[in-house]
Symmetry: D2
Subunit: 388 residues, 4 copies
């Protein structure tokens, strides 16, 4: 007899109607069929909360008015009914408080990034996590793309030789105007240091560029030199970042992140140059990985089930034959899939293999604080110290 | 009180382990959360069938050894438990027999294309359908892409003027070698006329190109001139198609479909030229629609929630902001979404708005038969007659 | 002592002010320094003629009021002063008459295509040519591109195996409206059968697509099935061509040429699929040749001096390191360079190696006449017979 | 009577056989027919010198063994025979000495960049120039591309609003290995500070990126922060540059230049973001200028004679209809064309309109020296002072 594989029971904090990222999480979790939504506290707005729950097929009894009530009530349910995994898709300042309490109440946590509002708060969360036996994951979605894993594996296996230069860029245009002043809620809380933290653009998307660079180049950034800018009168946080950096093996690099690059959508891009070749990947066309080997014609490696030139880690993150585009939701679904396997597999420790965890959260937070400090000072270089 | 929206209870015929398209259907149905898998007859191989069901979380009692048993048993269940929608993802020759019985047993049907093995069988299915009050849909997935709707809407509203020329092409490479002889099951049944029908490449992907051309150009093809080819010794059906055609308004066109274009993945592409401008779309980069207006610089319209230049029909088929790629599964999920709305909305008739139905199936079958007939004869042009 | 290499003395018929192609020929001839303009009959308009000559630095005595006078006068000059090569850049109907007289008067001829107005006239020219010891070349400029030679060499050496399918397309948009009626002189004579010949679009650009297909696939087209169209009221000749064809080894293909594809510039493109791989080249990005080998990632071969993967024939047709774009004038200059080497090298026969000659002209003319005949008839296929 | 337009008599220092850039200059000058090569001192190698001259059609009497002899001899020739313009295509350290003497001897000068080996030398050259009535130009070839002028004109006319961010990059790969040690002469002198100056990559191509940024953004860079690298043992000068900068209106930017980016050819690229839109241009595909206007679909402006959306300055720098690629030699020919017009037009002052002159040379030299100084120090920012 084949044992029936039960779905993982999942609850949400945040993600009421109108919140893009919450819906994206539900779609990603639904894609591969491993999860079942059983409860939620979707919005502080009671009507939005009820409507969201009903539209998602939740009984009113599992649609909670606030997250504390949800944690308490769910914890008291029978083991085979209660939520197993809490997904946190609130504004930034709530990530750590909710995660800490959920972990303490015995739930696994998958949180939108950043892990916390600042380094102090994040270290406290880390302590809670390490004293638990629960899993914790961060939605660094771009690290779920198969060709990002392919690139990392090619770096690791020496295909491009020793890394010399890393260029990573993430120009967006959606904050080119005062959209917060025009009522865009997503833009609004992002520019409030109380809800967003020390960094604006650097926290929101600079950390994506940073973690992608460290992941693909397979080494840490050790010091950096940053220039931040703010282009709209009244805007409180940075909306533009330019940065030089140096990595642990002597590789140098440039990181560009901006939200005032008019007309740009979401073209996160990385190029890694080694002494034997180079790799290039762009999120808006995620199926293609360009490989330039010294003295060879350029090759374009394409994703797709069964392509013999792909690494195992890349191949496992694909669903479709070559030429059938997979995208952002599939990348996020890869994180959910790895999280599900870790939960069902009773993985030890607090990290789900394949899923960005607290360490990536820590490095991202150190990155933000180091960059802001460097920007404000006169020193050319500032060391990126991540003690934890 | 908000009424809880129940999920649509869905069963599968076909789609056991190892069958790509069945898994794709389940992923697409799962993406937006509107469906719940309640039963299946996934494979004639009993072990595969049981394993598939268990892995999908199905109780053994809803995992049936054959589809007739499933139809009978499900029909006898209480109305609030029984399957509502049957998804058919078997080889071609079973599509019509299963669909007919399922409709007669009171189930909605969503079937892989083609609707039937030949025109006669298809007309019989159509009769069954029309005497029922059930909905019937065909997985012409490429018609679920938002920018395909955008293109059609731009043609309809006269943006490119009167259509003059339509170029549609679909070159694949996966049958460049004798993969059936090497054990590829997908390739195997596709080359068996008993399971696949009269057409090989022309049925498998030529019909996609054909229906895309008629959909975007918003008019029927009236006559055609075709050359088919078969390139592997022992292969029974065509693997290559080149065709001239003429449409109802006088527009002319070219259709290319092939499965022996070495190295090509899945670049279905359409270009429509009118007297005021032109449109171009390519499935492998589905977020971009190129618009060339006479005497204007080329524009690239990009998909994305909230883009003001997109039509309503296109906008409704998107989930993410611009620059976050959506792909093949999202296109198929759009068909599932429209099917769910039609079921829940108790739409009258047998077609779910937005979902390709029996008419598109009929035209596709007439297309295959006309092309094969033209290829075999000496006449230059053959009328494409679709009496139904 | 190194012998000084004298420039080849060159005269023009046609190419007065306002004529794009004449200026392009002078620029191409000037690029590599092998030619010296010594005389011209640039325009029937006496003022245009004088102004053009003066602007080009010609003494009034070598600026002739008509081409007959030029041929007579130049032939009477001392051998070290007289024109050696006549370049013909007039409307089509004058090509053959001028070429014949020039050859008889002892001049080499480089002519714009087509070689003649019809097959009869062309065969007469061929006789004149073969009874002379002069060289004759045709400005099939696209056959001067280095990556076109690279593609042909890769086909010849079996890199892509046996050719199965050839797709060649040449969609332009500049005749989408009645530009002749609006005074465009280039469009005007092209639509006059007396000046242009039997074919409109098929002669003007269809022949480029045709000769490119035969050149790269390295085999003749044997039969074809054509549909021609004319889209502007009052237009006399075709402005749109769609065609199926079959080649001598059994390869099949499609040829598309149009001048009513709104918004298209000059994207002549060819794809050749063999049983081991495929090649793709597009004139608007001429430095890149895409190579898809079976079961290998796509490669992009780039032009550039010193690239080790390029054939000798391709490498000889480049001037600059990779990444420094060469274009249309450089391609034409390659034809001029080969013509100069042939003249200086006293090549035997009437063809300059590397330069399209009377044979390509003949096949192009047979192509036009065959396509028009097929279009007008009811037979599906017409043999392309080229007896000469 | 139309006065005959005589060609400008031109001589070369440098550019013997095997020197790519000298040949490129002759091809560019030959393209539009405005120049006549009358003399040269092509190489210190007597045989190479003679062979080059003879191959170019020069009489032995005008092929000089050294440039001093050439200047003296030519200056003594009758005014209607002697060289008018001296083109300098030697290694860097000879640019200024030759240019100074040539100007003093009464010749116009068109020099490869940089204008001099260092700032001191350049200021001395500037004095000589300003005390003459001759014209001086620098081969900043990329400033000859029509779409670069189009971009600058769109910035100037406010199409993209106030400039916020400028990203310019120039990654090459040809020095990824020790090619100088392997005998590559181009690489050899470039790495010798006595012949090349203070900068390696930053001087060779960093200055191109720098001048392109200032030209298109239409404003000076005021301060910068640079990190230089050298990656090959034994290499003396930098081969890699990363830089942050700030411009006079508050715009910030990033400049990347490298010659160790394995596999890269010559993809000089600039993006300029303003508060109303953005522009993007890439040298390897020079006919396309991407324009992103806020809240509009992306437009691709294409070069081509007669495109109504192009500025006058851009249109004047094109020869061919859209879709007929023009490239690097055409860009350089545009500089030659402007230089010819200035000479024939007896322009006052020392700069030929449209041709980069001594001011651009000065800024480029200040850029090199400022970047090297910043790189060596600990200060974050260094002002770019250009007193002249």
């Amino acid at each position: 007899m084949n044992p029936v594989v039960p779905k993982i029971r999942m609850g949400f904090v945040g993600g009421g109607e109108g919140a893009f990222i919450g819906q994206a999480h539900r779609q990603a979790a639904g894609l591969d069929g491993g999860f079942e939504l059983v409860c939620g506290a979707f919005s502080r707005d009671a009507q939005n909360n009820r409507q969201t729950g009903a539209a998602l097929g939740l009984a009113a009894s599992r649609c909670y008015s606030d997250w504390q009530l949800m944690l308490d009530t769910e914890a008291a349910l029978p083991a085979d009914q209660r939520m197993e995994l809490l997904v946190i898709v609130t504004p930034n300042h709530l990530h750590a408080p909710i995660a800490s309490q959920a972990l303490e109440a015995g739930f696994h946590v998958f949180s939108e990034k950043p892990a916390a509002l600042n380094l102090r708060e994040l270290l406290a969360l880390k302590e809670v996590l390490e004293s638990s036996d629960r899993l914790y994951g961060l939605a660094h979605t771009y690290l779920g793309y198969p060709m990002v894993w392919q690139a990392r594996d090619m770096v690791r296996t020496g295909v491009i030789g020793a890394v010399r230069k890393v260029l990573v860029e993430y120009p967006q245009g959606w904050l080119s105007q005062d959209v917060a002043g025009q009522g865009n809620k997503q833009a609004g809380w992002r520019d409030d240091p109380q809800q967003s933290g020390l960094g604006g653009c650097i926290g929101d998307i600079g950390t994506h560029a940073f973690s992608l660079a460290e992941f693909v180049a397979d080494q840490p950034i050790e010091r950096l030199c940053a220039a931040l800018g703010t282009h709209i009168p009244g805007r409180q946080l940075d909306d533009d970042v330019s940065m030089l950096f140096q990595m642990s093996t002597g590789a140098s690099g440039v990181l560009i992140a901006s939200q005032v690059c008019a007309g740009e959508e979401n073209p996160l891009k990385i190029r890694v140059y080694g002494d034997k070749g180079a790799l290039e990947w762009r999120q808006e066309e995620p199926a293609s990985l360009i490989h330039r080997a010294l003295d060879q014609p350029m090759r374009t490696l394409r994703s797709g089930v069964g392509q013999p030139w792909l690494s195992e880690a890349a191949s496992q993150r694909m669903r479709l034959p070559a030429g059938h585009p997979e995208g952002y939701l599939e990348a996020m679904a890869n994180l959910y899939g790895d999280f599900a396997r870790a939960i069902r597999g009773n993985v030890e420790g607090n990290e789900a293999p394949g899923v960005p965890g607290i360490q990536i959260g820590l490095r991202g937070m150190a990155f933000i604080e180091t960059a802001v400090a460097n920007h404000r000072g006169n020193a050319k270089w500032t060391e990126l110290v991540c003690t934890a």
